[in-house]
């Protein structure tokens, strides 16, 4: 794609800054916090490497719904829940290692497809406010999840292991130890590079996902999603099944979130049965927005940059807060506040920019333009 308009360099810098203001704010905060945190470079890098493996997959699951014009899929927590149910079964059945993860994915997949389909249907009825609806849908399904896991499991859904069941005889305990699958993917192909441990198998899975996304964009379905993302009416009149395609985008996103949550939890090594998914959507959304994505456009580099930046901040801000204010708590509040504010800011900037663009697009129609209907360059172009 080429840029037909050559902007003067000052304007270009300003435009770059305006497009990336979120990234720039985040960078500058982090840049201040890194030295004050007093953490060693190798500690930070190791922690970042681990967090990449843990989180990147989840963030990738946001790409397709953005492409399909549905904004940030806060409903991805539904996928996270499906992954957790898969893990509960893997632990209950005593399936360990990578096989345990595979088993969790296989169990989680049909659940994720079902939940994704439901979410897609709901979001299709809430056009124009998909994000807030997806968010509330996450809350709603949290209740359903709790009902299933806390009341049905062990009562109606057979659970064999007493170790994970509450003493009353049904319901899963608040904390689920994942010792049997703990970091089994990370350890599968561990590469020691100087002082750093690289979980190559996890990276490989993430790389495969990135390849999948690249490939997917080139498919007919991917093209249709891009089209719908830009103009639903035109796509519809061209015969693209709009609603179905939107549902598919959400189903795929939910599936990916399911796998992402399993990867996340195997790295953590234990699971807060009823809380693990509550912040998933928030972290993923913050990461992709910090990476410079908007609600309407997101790329693979956005994901990679965003995960790095967000987690860099999460690593360095609490110790920086402790050193500067004498309280690590302040740092923790600060990084949460930053992440919330970044989401609000990115959404607001996008809405604001959309309006500005719509106005500048009509600029040519304004003013008592003398002469023919269109600016002169039009005529040259057609010859």
């Amino acid at each position: 794609m080429k840029t037909p308009f050559k902007l003067p360099s000052a304007a270009r810098v300003r435009r770059f800054a305006a497009d990336n203001v979120v990234v720039l704010i985040f960078l500058s905060v982090t840049a201040i916090a890194v030295p004050s945190s007093n953490l060693s470079a190798s500690y930070i890098i190791q922690d970042l490497l681990t967090r990449y493996g843990r989180n990147a997959f989840l963030v990738f699951s946001l790409l397709l719904p953005i492409m399909a014009g549905m904004g940030i899929n806060f409903g991805m927590v539904l996928g996270a829940m499906a992954g957790e149910i898969g893990l509960i079964f893997a632990v209950d059945q005593g399936i360990a290692g990578v096989q345990g993860l595979l088993y969790a994915v296989l169990v989680g997949a049909p659940i994720a497809v079902l939940l994704g389909w439901i979410a897609g249907q709901v979001l299709n009825r809430a056009r124009g406010r998909e994000m807030v609806t997806g968010y509330i849908l996450g809350f709603f399904m949290d209740g359903v999840y709790q009902f299933v896991v806390l009341y049905l499991m062990g009562a109606i859904i057979p659970i064999t292991s007493k170790a994970i069941t509450l003493s009353r005889g049904y319901g899963i305990r608040n904390t689920l130890g994942l010792d049997s699958v703990r970091q089994s993917l990370d350890k599968l192909l561990k590469l020691e590079l100087g002082p750093f441990d690289l979980p190559m198998a996890t990276y490989l899975v993430i790389a495969l996902l990135a390849l999948f996304i690249v490939w997917f964009r080139r498919t007919k379905l991917g093209q249709d999603m891009r089209a719908i993302g830009q103009d639903q009416t035109v796509s519809h009149s061209a015969g693209i099944p709009v609603e179905r395609t939107r549902i598919l985008a959400i189903v795929i996103s939910t599936l990916l979130a399911m796998v992402g949550q399993i990867i996340f939890l195997q790295n953590m090594g234990n699971m807060a049965t009823y809380n693990a998914h509550r912040q998933t959507g928030f972290f993923a959304a913050a990461a992709i927005l910090v990476g410079g994505a908007s609600v309407a456009k997101a790329t693979i580099p956005n994901v990679l940059v965003g995960v790095g930046l967000l987690h860099l901040m999460y690593i360095v801000v609490p110790p920086a807060g402790a050193r500067l204010f004498g309280s690590a708590q302040i740092g923790e509040y600060f990084r949460d506040a930053m992440s919330y504010a970044v989401i609000a800011l990115a959404l607001a900037l996008h809405a604001w920019r959309k309006r500005a663009n719509a106005e500048s697009a009509r600029a040519g129609l304004r003013g008592a333009a003398s002469g023919a209907v269109q600016p002169a360059k039009t005529e040259g172009g057609a010859e």
């Binding site: 893997a90 059945q93 005593g94 399936i95 360990a96 290692g97 990578v98 096989q99 345990g100 595979l102 088993y103 296989l106 809350f139 949290d142 209740g143 709790q146 806390l150 007493k162 170790a163 069941t165 509450l166 003493s167 305990r173 608040n174 904390t175 049997s180 007919k220 249709d224 015969g239 049965t273 009823y274 809380n275 509550r278």
Partner: protein, 166 residues
């Protein structure tokens, strides 16, 4: 509409057949992977036991390993455990007395969570050398805070404090 371009509409029956085959393949892979994960991922705990049993003497000192795991050293009357996945395992016992290590394969039933493997029996070739092991103890009772936190936290509940006293 888009289907036509792809299928070329030349041989719809062959296409349909291909789809059926492909879907069957997916189903097979799904089930196969599930079965593989279930079987080969199933975890068992093998207690290796160096105690005298049924007239067989315990060994003074030995080194035992299962599969490719790090060997464990057991003195007389000692017991340790291996966590393994899958049902067939190669056990290698080095009696540390200059003789060649003893190797044997054991096959466990799928649903045996924990088995007690008697090493004297294994070396003596008594079949089966293992027996199921029941711990007898139940899961620890959950403490109060094992119930989930409330989603809206303080926001909703909170009956006026003294109302709860009624």
């Amino acid at each position: 509409m888009s289907g036509k371009e792809v299928a070329g509409a030349k041989a719809p029956r062959r296409i349909a057949l291909r789809r059926v085959v492909a879907l069957a393949l997916v189903a097979a892979v799904y089930l196969g992977a599930g079965a593989w994960a279930l079987i080969s991922g199933k975890s068992h705990t093998i207690l290796v036991d160096n105690k005298p049993v049924g007239g067989l003497e315990a060994f003074r000192l030995l080194e035992v390993s299962i599969g490719r795991q790090e060997p464990l050293e057991l003195g007389r009357g000692e017991r340790d455990k291996f966590a393994v996945q899958g049902q067939r395992h190669r056990v290698k016992i080095d009696l540390m007395n200059g003789t060649d290590p003893v190797e044997a394969t054991i096959a466990l039933p799928y649903d045996a969570k924990m088995v007690l493997l008697s090493l004297p029996k294994l070396v003596a070739g008594v079949e089966p050398a293992w027996e199921p092991f029941e711990t007898g103890q139940d899961a620890p009772a959950p403490v109060a805070d094992e119930l989930p936190e409330e989603l809206f936290g303080a926001a909703i509940d909170l009956a006026p404090p003294e109302a709860g006293a009624d």
